[in-house]
Structure formats: C-alpha cells, structure tokens
C-alpha cells in the first residue's frame, strides 16, 4: 500500500524523523488558510502517487498569498500522468545546500534489509545506479541484529556526504530503519534528504509503501487503506474482497489462483486479445464468489466477452460448474462467456454445464482454445 507524500511525512514524523512543517488541503481556501498558519514562503505540492510531479508542474514555490492562489488553483484538479490531483500539501519552504538520497527495502536475493545512501540525491536514483553505481553506499542489515549506531556511522562515512551532515544523517537513518521495521514498511525512501545552509538535515520528500499484511498490528493503517487510489472497477472489487487489477482491454478474465489468473492474462494476449482485468477468485470458486466476480466484470463497460478459467483441485468440477450456473442465475450478464474447466471431476462439471450452453455460454477444452474463442467474441483477430 503506497502512501501519499503527506501521509508518508506524518508517518516519518511519528518516528521522530524531521520533516518540514506542513498541512494538507483539499480546496483553494484551505490551502490559503494553511499557508497563513505556516508562514510564507511555502511550497505547494500535488499529492499523487506517481513520479515526475515536479516536471509536470505539480510542485511550486509561493512567496505570498497571490502566488499561492495562482499555483494552488492550477495544481488542484491537474492531471499528472492520468492521476487527478485531489489534494495539495502546503509546507514551509526550505533552503537547500545539498540533496541526498536514503532508503531501506528488502533485498530479496540476499534475504536481508538493504539500506542505500547517496550524496547524489534529488534525482532519479535508478539513473544514478546505472551511471555511477559507486555513488550509492549500500548496507545489508540482518533483521535479527538490526541497524546498530556503529554500523550506521561507518555506512554514512562511506557515502562521503558533507561532514556537516554526518550527525544529522546518522540520527535520521537510525529512525528511518526503526520506521521501516517497526512500521512494517516494504519501502521507506527519502529523496531528497536535505542539508540546509545552517547545517540541519531533514526529509524533504517521503515515499512509503506499507505491508498490508501487517494491518493486524497497526489498526491505524485502516485510515490509509481508505485513501488508496482505485478506479471504479477496482473499488467495487475491493469492497467484494476480490483480488482485482484493472487493465485496458476488452476480455474479462476470471481465474482461480494468482498464477493461473496471470497465466490467463498472458494467454489472452498471446492469441491477440487484450485482457480487461486480472481477477483471482481464490481456491474455492463458490457460487457466491463467482457471482461477485461476474458482477464486477459485467460493470466494466469495455468488456466484450468473459473468460472463466478454473482448475478444480479440492473443489471438484461439479461444484465449480454448479457455482457458475448459480451465479449466472443471480446476475444478468451482458457479454458472452467462455469457460475452461479442468482438474478434479472436470468431466462431471462439463456435463452439468452442457445443459446450459447457448450463444452466450460455451465450453472449450483447453486454455488456448478458450482464449481464441473469447478473443474472437470480443471482436479481436484471434491468432
């Protein structure tokens, strides 16, 4: 779960990491009121979960109320790479002497936490990693040991920052590691971490991804969950508890298991179609879940045909077939459906479905056959 910058900064602040004082605003009047409280000059920052905000004109400095009105009205409602700006973060402007980069995330190969620190902050760190890998000082932290102050100091020393920044940076990194582990984050990133002319170090940006699996011990994260950006389809699927990702195409996809669902999306593409979504209904494939899934897909106006791809394991083929028939009784579906049902008692399942076949419902023996049929129904040129 990605946080907005303002949430990330509040998250950082709760761990004692210095951030610029600021307030979030939904309207122009709120923005002005916030700036009056904070004191000019302020920076107006678009709150969207996408990179390149600055280049898109989503970050502006305002010296007074007139400039603030001008910038805030331009930024609120602005479209940045398909994300509409609903909120702005107004914060006290900082004088910047130097810009650094700092982050913690999991190194999945090493199975340890990886800290990265660079004197070359403020820009795309992946570009730095490519051009000048030595400019990033890395540290691998064993989760059992945690990050000790001693190791943190030698890590900071190896990054060759301005000596004036050393103490402040060590302090922030220790707190950042605590926020990362204690806060159950998948990623904490500060870019830039700044050194001010008067020698203070603080976080000027905050990128935080929280692990939704940890919500049981962080009940306050529910509030972040409420502000997640989802399109209408994803919102509906989320409410129904379905694993759904919206895509751009015309073939609705329902499968059981994440791997099979991904594979189904692949096969639809492979034969020349364009999937409208990824939808994993999990192992059971009950009538209830199937009905919910069909409803979500049916409400997507782009969908021209639907591919139901089920592998019966412990849930037998006849149960899956009955679930589909029952779901179709509950939901009026506009688009034609192609079913591929394999696995335990697939034959029995096919027999049950046979009585219900029509121009709106067909069975195909294999994933590829089903994909070709469903793509043809979507008006595509199946290969």
């Amino acid at each position: 779960m990605d946080l907005f910058e303002y949430q990330g900064k509040q998250f950082f602040a709760s761990y004692g990491i210095p951030v610029s004082p600021g307030e979030v605003a939904e309207t122009l009047d709120d923005a002005v009121a916030a700036a009056e409280r904070l004191g000019y000059p302020v920076v107006v920052k678009a709150q969207v979960q996408v990179g390149g905000r600055g280049k898109a004109g989503g970050i502006k400095l305002a010296a007074d109320a007139e400039e603030l009105r001008q910038h805030a009205s331009a930024i609120l409602g602005m479209d940045i790479k398909g994300h509409r700006v609903e909120l702005v973060w107004i914060e006290v402007a900082s004088d910047i002497a130097e810009e650094y980069y700092a982050s913690f995330t999991l190194d999945r190969s090493a199975k340890k936490h990886l800290g990265m620190l660079s004197a070359r902050g403020g820009i795309d760190i992946e570009a730095v990693a490519e051009e000048d890998p030595d400019a990033i000082a890395k540290i691998w932290v064993d989760p059992v040991d945690g990050l000790t102050e001693e190791r943190c100091r030698s890590w900071v020393a190896s990054a060759a920052l301005n000596p004036a920044a050393t103490e402040g940076t060590v302090g922030i990194l220790l707190k950042l590691y605590e926020a990362y582990t204690d806060g159950d984050a998948d990623l904490v990133e500060v870019n830039p971490l700044i050194l001010t002319p008067d020698g203070r170090v603080h976080a000027l940006d905050a990128k935080v991804t929280l692990d939704t699996n940890s919500i049981f011990r962080h009940p306050d994260y529910e509030a972040y969950e409420q502000t997640q950006v989802r399109d209408e389809r994803e919102e509906e699927a989320h409410e129904k508890g379905l694993q759904y990702v919206g895509l751009e195409g015309t073939v609705g996809v329902i499968a059981n298991g994440a791997g099979l669902a991904m594979s189904t999306v692949d096969v639809v593409n492979e034969v020349g179609g364009r999937p409208a979504n990824f939808l994993d209904i999990g192992g059971g494939a009950s009538a209830e879940v199937m009905a919910s899934a069909l409803e979500v897909i049916n409400n997507d106006p782009d969908v021209q045909s639907i591919f139901i791809n089920i592998f019966g394991g412990i849930t037998r083929g006849e149960e899956v077939a009955n679930g589909i028939i029952e779901a179709l009784g509950r939901v009026e579906i506009d688009s034609p459906i192609v079913i591929r049902l394999d696995g335990t008692n697939a034959e029995e399942g096919h027999q049950i479905l046979a009585a219900h076949l029509s121009d709106k419902l067909q069975i195909q023996p294999t994933m590829l056959d089903a994909a070709r049929a469903v793509v043809a129904l979507a008006g595509g040129d199946a290969r």
């Binding site: 999991l106 999945r108 190969s109 199975k111 340890k112 936490h113 992946e126 064993d142 989760p143 059992v144 582990t181 159950d184 998948d186 692990d211 699996n213 940890s214 049981f216 011990r217 694993q243 990702v245 895509l247 499968a255 059981n256 298991g257 994440a258 791997g259 099979l260 669902a261 991904m262 594979s263 999306v265 692949d266 096969v267 593409n269 492979e270 999937p275 990824f278 994993d280 192992g283 592998f311 394991g313 412990i314 394999d342 696995g343 335990t344 294999t366 994933m367 590829l368």
Partner: protein, 295 residues
C-alpha cells in the same frame, strides 16, 4: 525415491484444531500421510479424530518422533509458530498460511539460518509438498498427482502447480516430489534448494519449474541450472504481459522498473539450457518430450 518427505515422514500439525488445519490435516491423513500429532496449548490432552493434541511442538516431537511440522496458524502467530517448531526439534517446517508480514518472514529466515541451520522452512504462503503415493503435506489435492517418477516439480504458484501435476498425470507421467515454494518475498526454501535436491535424487530424472514475475529467484535458478544441473529442465513463467508496478495477487508477483519481468526470466532460463513453454500446456508438452527421450 523422493525429496524431503516420503512414506515414513511423521508430521505434526500446528493449528490442527482450527477449521483449515483440521480440514487439510485429515485430508492429508486420508491420503496416507502419517499425521501423528497436533498442537494447541489450550487443548493439550484432547484429540482431533484420534490424532493426539499436545501443548507444544517439543512435546509432540518427544511423544511421536515427528520430524516435520505443518503450520496452519493464522498469520499473526506464524513467527512464533515457526520458532516453536524449530526449537521443538523438527527438520522441516511447511508454512501454508498466507498474509504473513514481510518483516516477520525476513526475521525468522535469518534467525533460523543462524540458530537452527539444519532446519528447512517451506513457504510461507505455499501449497506444501507432495511425494505422490507416499506423503502429502498441505493443500494440494492428492489425486491429481501421479505417483512414481521421473519428474520433480518446483513452483512458486499454487494453481499452476496443480495444473502441471494434472497435465503430467493425464500424459501418464509420474512425479517424485512436487514442492510449492510459495509466492512470498522471503521464501524459506528457494528454487535452487529444490533443484539441488532433485539433482541429487536418483529417481528424479527431469525437473519442471514454474515461475512467476517479480524478484530474481528464477534468474538465480537459471544460473544454477547452467552450472550445477545435469538433469533436463522444462519451465514456464507466468506474467509475461503483466503491467509494470501492478501487484497481481501474490506478494511476490510485482514487476518494478523492468526488473523481474517474465521475459527476462524466460530468456535467462533458455540461456541456461532449460526448455521454456509460452503457456502451461506447452511446458507440459515439452516435459512429455523430455520424458520420452529419457527412455
């Protein structure tokens, strides 16, 4: 032969008294798995359909000589359950539970490596392990797997594993052992661990590997296939057309910044000499071809 579990393996189920644990524990026993114990500190002394319940894994091990634990404990308790199992003296801990926080997984992986290096964790968030006809631990439907050999299977995805087992069965091809390593960010057992075990197992003559977008586990496996494996490998990687930055179901299945793409993984596997199918069926056919050439 098979790897890690066989007809003599004795298993204790942590969470056998819960609804999931009971359902799958009893199914596993029906399959023929030696389900010798369950644990629940509040229900010690009782039983689940004749299977004795002990307060701790240590007691269960002492009383029943269990060597493997299967964890059906809800996610918040998994970290404690894994440590209890390791301290209790089992050799293999199969964690079926999904939704375990990443930081818990990273912690117990490293803790075990340090304090219990002889203990293997499989999972979390995995379907388990089955040596068909001998032992089934976890949630795989046992009857979709053909006993015997010569194929070993290792997979990160549940349903695609079942698909692979089923396709091989329909072709009359048996499986020595099928290991689901799970889709989480810190799997206790890697592809390489499984490939090494299959390479060493005399009855496994070929390996089917099913991968998924995200991370670099498939690329690392490709390196091992190239340098350390003599047995042929057929592979499939799901998520070729998954858009970057979108999380597709599994915690592990996310592509970021062009890294961990299915295409890169397939290329790495091909370059290492594995045969790679574009879809699960094709991978199954490639495996059938490999098996036909073995004899």
């Amino acid at each position: 032969m098979s790897i890690w579990v066989d007809e003599n393996t004795r298993v204790v189920y942590q969470g056998l008294t819960g609804s999931q644990g009971r359902f799958y524990g009893l199914r596993n026993r029906d399959y023929g798995t030696r389900v010798v114990a369950g644990t629940n500190p509040k229900k010690a002394g009782s039983d689940v359909d004749g299977i004795p319940i002990y307060a701790t894994v240590a007691e269960a091990v002492k009383e029943t000589a269990a060597t493997v634990s299967c964890v059906f404990i809800p996610a918040p308790g998994v970290k404690g359950a894994v440590m209890e199992a390791a301290e209790g003296g089992v050799e293999l801990i199969v964690v079926i539970t999904e939704g375990v926080p990443m930081h818990d997984e990273a912690w117990f992986f490293n803790k075990l490596k340090r304090d219990f290096p002889q203990v293997r964790v499989l999972g979390p968030n995995c379907p388990g392990i089955i040596s068909p006809g001998k032992c089934n631990i976890g949630i795989t439907a046992g009857h979709i797997a053909e006993p015997g050999g010569p194929v070993g299977i290792v997979s990160r995805s549940g349903t695609l594993t079942y698909q692979a087992l089923f396709e091989l069965k329909q072709k009359g091809i048996g499986c020595t052992t099928c290991v689901g390593v799970g889709g989480d960010p810190v799997p206790g057992t890697s592809y390489i661990d499984c490939l090494q075990a299959f390479e060493a197992d005399p009855e496994t003559e070929a390996v089917m590997m099913i991968g998924e977008i995200g991370g670099s586990a498939e690329e690392e496996a490709a390196d091992y296939i190239k340098t350390g494996m003599t047995k042929p490998v057929a592979a499939y990687v799901a998520g070729v057309t998954a858009p970057a930055g979108k999380k597709m179901g599994h915690a592990g299945a996310i592509v970021s910044g062009g890294k961990g793409t299915a295409k890169a993984k397939m290329e790495a596997l091909r370059a290492a000499g594995a045969m790679v199918g574009d879809n699960p069926t094709e991978a199954g056919e490639l495996m059938a071809g490999i098996v036909a050439d073995l004899s």
